[in-house]
Symmetry: D2
Subunit: 366 residues, 4 copies
């Protein structure tokens, strides 16, 4: 049994980790922290976690494995000593996602608290980076939107069938904003309404661009990111060959779920013409995700509800033949595959356990 700790259990990602870990056969949650609620029983803050007999501490105790669900900056500060002490860590914050500390400073507004650890961190989108995850002791758990965008686009990018003019239009439930109070998330304001946000640049954009650039085929776009000397910003798409991504998130009146609709021009001649293009794309996606337990190529456009509470991501690729564009729709639960479930999948991979362990419960539908 692996003894696990959660730093900052009091947000939605932390609570979701606790929920999922409760039925994990090889891991047990033995320590949780959270400053504002320190001293309270976990069951008082979250009655649905009354199955645990744990008190929230100022700090977590001695454990074998740590998840950090702190906000950015605070998270790197808390994780750094653990990583240096050899404790395996999955960081759910954004702190170790961007490889270039200049990018981090630009988007997160401050010096990176532990730039020396960046080279040790693996980007934890397991399906796309499995070997690195298995060998790393520090995982940068991906952002919820990047998971949905990257799983939607990766097969097409790697196969070289799309050009770099990419649009990612995402729709997210309210839990993505966390538990903090703001008029935007007040029921009376948010219910029965949809709105766009982050129009001048959302922090998940550079993460999407960085990962797409890294998987872009050499011939089409020569390696654009020099990992050690960042001569250009991953988010400056004027750099030759880099994907030029517009990313617009929208707030939807539901609690959980992300649907991303991704658009990109097809490379001329990359696919057969007519109806065959659609089947060819579906075939490509099915091949790419064959054997992946948590990614399923859907036969019809999926709804976010089909993934609610589960670690599944459904991907539906198709072709708009009138405009020769690839359109891919992906759905997932932002708190599971977009956060806590992905984190446990990473833990499983790091510990040599089957990736599905503790994550096999079907979605709670309807």
């Amino acid at each position: 049994m692996v003894n696990v700790g959660i730093i900052n259990v009091t947000g939605y990602a932390g609570a979701e980790l606790a929920r999922l870990l409760y039925t994990h056969p090889e891991a047990q949650l033995t320590s949780v922290s959270g400053r504002s609620a320190a001293g309270k029983p976990l069951a008082e803050v979250f009655p649905h976690l009354a199955c645990y007999d744990l008190t929230i501490g100022e700090e977590i105790g001695d454990v074998d494995f740590v998840f950090s669900a702190l906000p950015h900056a605070a998270s790197a500060e808390a994780c750094a000593p653990l990583v240096r002490a050899g404790v395996p860590v999955v960081d759910i914050s954004a702190d170790f996602r961007l490889r270039d500390p200049k990018e981090y400073a630009e988007w997160y507004g401050g010096e990176h608290p532990a730039p020396d650890l960046l080279s040790q961190a693996a980007y934890g989108l397991t399906e796309l980076n499995r070997e690195a995850v298995r060998q790393s002791k520090l995982i940068a758990n991906p952002g919820c939107f990047p998971v949905s965008a990257l799983l939607a686009l990766a097969p097409a990018v790697k196969a070289g069938i799309i050009g770099p003019e990419i649009i990612v239009d995402s729709k997210s439930g309210m839990s993505g904003a966390g538990r903090s109070l703001d008029l935007k998330y007040h029921f009376g304001e948010a219910d029965e309404s949809v709105s766009a946000y982050g129009l001048s640049g959302h922090r998940h954009l550079p993460e999407i661009v960085q990962e797409l650039a890294a998987m872009w085929p050499q011939a089409e776009a020569p390696p654009v990111i020099d990992k050690t000397v960042s001569v250009w910003s991953a988010t400056d798409p004027r750099a030759a060959g880099a994907p030029r991504v517009t990313f617009t998130p929208h707030l939807i009146p539901m609690t959980r779920g992300i649907l991303s609709t991704c658009y990109a021009p097809l490379t001329q001649g990359a696919l057969p013409s007519g109806e065959a293009a659609r089947e060819a794309v579906r075939e490509l996606y099915r091949d790419s995700y064959a054997g992946e337990p948590f990614v399923r190529v859907a036969d019809s456009p999926p709804g976010t509800k089909q993934t609610r509470g589960s670690n599944m991501c459904f991907v539906y690729p198709t072709v708009d033949m009138r405009t020769d564009r690839l359109v891919v729709v992906s759905v997932l639960d932002n708190l599971v595959k977009g956060a806590a479930g992905q984190a446990i999948q990473n833990m499983n991979a790091m510990l040599g356990l089957p990736e599905t362990m503790g994550l096999d419960a079907p979605a709670v539908y309807p």
Copy 2:
């Protein structure tokens, strides 16, 4: 491993059984039926159940244990031959809940299809009828509203602290109405609206009355139901001593969840006066449900969301001291503790397994 079949998997209760059974360590779902969808893969009808490689049949195959999620009447007809052949059955329909076939005919509008089996059936509210459940091969799984009302009222009734003038005001999510199409459940009509229904008599009323009457203290109300010769209707509260229940269900714009608010006059002198009354009632409830894994006496008024997807029922008893009334609020997930989870709890009890087996996942909150 017990091989399990679900008759009529295509409704919400059937699908929920399949969801919960997937992670049950000692049972495996091997056969599912459903006429309208016969021949289709289960994963096509319910994409969230893509984890199963099962095709929906006209009939279920040879299994060790059967759940029936058919509508009433059809269910008794399907269950009867299985019961007679010795196959253990949990019937989720209403067919074996009312002990008196005249009551059944009155409320369900037709002769009972298998009245001879009524005496073999145990009412499957495990917490209140555990021994009978363990010894029976045919379980009448209780209605969703009766579970919430009976768990809310049982400790007070058994302790003799309330009189028979009872009001049960229930609020239910839409999934309680099943998957059938009706303008009432159309999103545009149901969203952002609350309404009452069943005001001239809901079918769960006689079930609530029957079970309350059966547990009513002898001194207050001598046994009122002659099981073999029904000399009076369990729902005719003018029969001496029987509880006089008004039950009003309401349709709430949410998918899952029932909250029942139950009101009854306190028997004079049964409780200490003032604030102490509240604490005495809470003590009584905590004692009554001590050791029950699925009923928790809440410290503050609970929300249905705390039970979403789980088999928990939270009960919050208090006293309105201005009027000397007991007020008890209970919450549960109508598809789990109110249907499929309760059914699996019964299966566990029948098979001598721990009741919590396969049912220990915390609620999916938020």
Copy 3:
């Protein structure tokens, strides 16, 4: 044209007043105040009110008629000088609802800021108190729950057909809690959940009891409230003959709307027996509300959505013949008939205008 001002336009009741007044043919909104947003254009705080070219002030300017949408205590303080200066005022806060300042102090936790004005105030449930409203310059606009409970119960109380053991079980949308930030109203917490609150005593209870007591038939319950010397609390139902009300509000995952389900025992012999009782009750209600433009006796159980955005209240009375209880369901929009619409109806009555003026738009359905 009457020039109207709204004190504290920045809450939901204030904004709803502004919305409704925009199409009023005889009144125009010329001044709005609201301290936190003082100096901002109204259109910035509420984009849906961009039709107005008004700036929010620290105080309202010189107007002919004032609505106060301040919180209690602050409201009485702001209204008192206006009332003394002869400006007609409708106070949407609770400050002038309870006639007994001791009651006020008990429930609102402080001395009444202007007890001398209590005798001048009329309780502004126009349908039940029309003459007083017409002749008063200070209206205590009723609470949203009391409107729904009193319109549901008044005909039965006045006709003497029910006894005093009353239960009011109310379901309210989130806007009833106003625009203040609290985890309870955070979308992720409130969505897909129902919960009860105010179980130890909600502030609308004494208001309901006071008004029911005042209309209670003499023979049944001699006048129980001495308006000048409050010898007993209106909320102490042990006072002889007073209605003994339990009131439980519930929070529903919708923005607008209140549904109240009211239960009371029928006085023996007051109604014919059998099905005729139902028709007799409906007849009584139709007669009571004949000619009332804003109260409609529904032919089937109504949903709150049928009143959304409008000043209508639908009332559906019936009889539970198994238990000889009256059950009345009422629905309304808590921000309109439960607040701003009721306030404008009162203004119309005070100014000698038709009560429906500016309030005749049908509900926004669906």
Copy 4:
């Protein structure tokens, strides 16, 4: 007073027309039809319309002005004799929107019922086609998605600042699908879920393309639609110069509202660089819609709720400077500006009344 009739009042668009007409000062609804509900009082089918004393007929009676809310094909059949008899008609169906009957046949699956009337019909997006609307007796009321897309894109297209590679990603509430029963709109299925649909081609696409092509600057794209001899399909974007539009609608768990997010590449050099580009675009939009009462250029990203129940459309244009793309977000109420309100605006224009008449009520927020 103009006597108005509504053909097929029983759907959401028909009922919304009735709602809005009730407070119109110069028009009165005197006749409504609807086959399935013929013979029933309007108030029985729609309790919120109890203000009307109208019975639904098989056919409408003799009126001065007709709105048809029938489904396509049936609508043209019903409108044709009226138009030929000189009765002014606003057709809310799609029948007169596409100018080319071949396009109609391709997208709506049948011969056009009255192709001879196509040349008389004006496309009724009043802001963009005011003169034609004023002079026509037959208005093709635009589709809800096209209204949102065209108002979002028109200023940029007309100013020649964008290229033809356009993506319209729309999010719609459930009422857009009408009142018909389908599992997709069942509350339990639709609530807490988002999904894309129409991925192989939605019927509103050719309408968007046709109108964009018609306003495309000559130099950039020579007139591409020969109205009399349709030598190419307006939806075949391979035709030189035509806008190449991908349109993806999404179903959102709310009742009313459409938000469209529109993306297009900026023409090089069309705008100043850097932050000035954003301000230049906003200036362009403000100028374009100056004086338009129902289109407002928002200062911050708008939510659909700000338009609920009103005829307003909020447009928010911005520039993604990293990719030189125009991004425009528009919001409206699909049943008002997207259907019934737009129809009344057209009626007002046709009758020489102020366009805002009867349409000036602010949105019902929250």
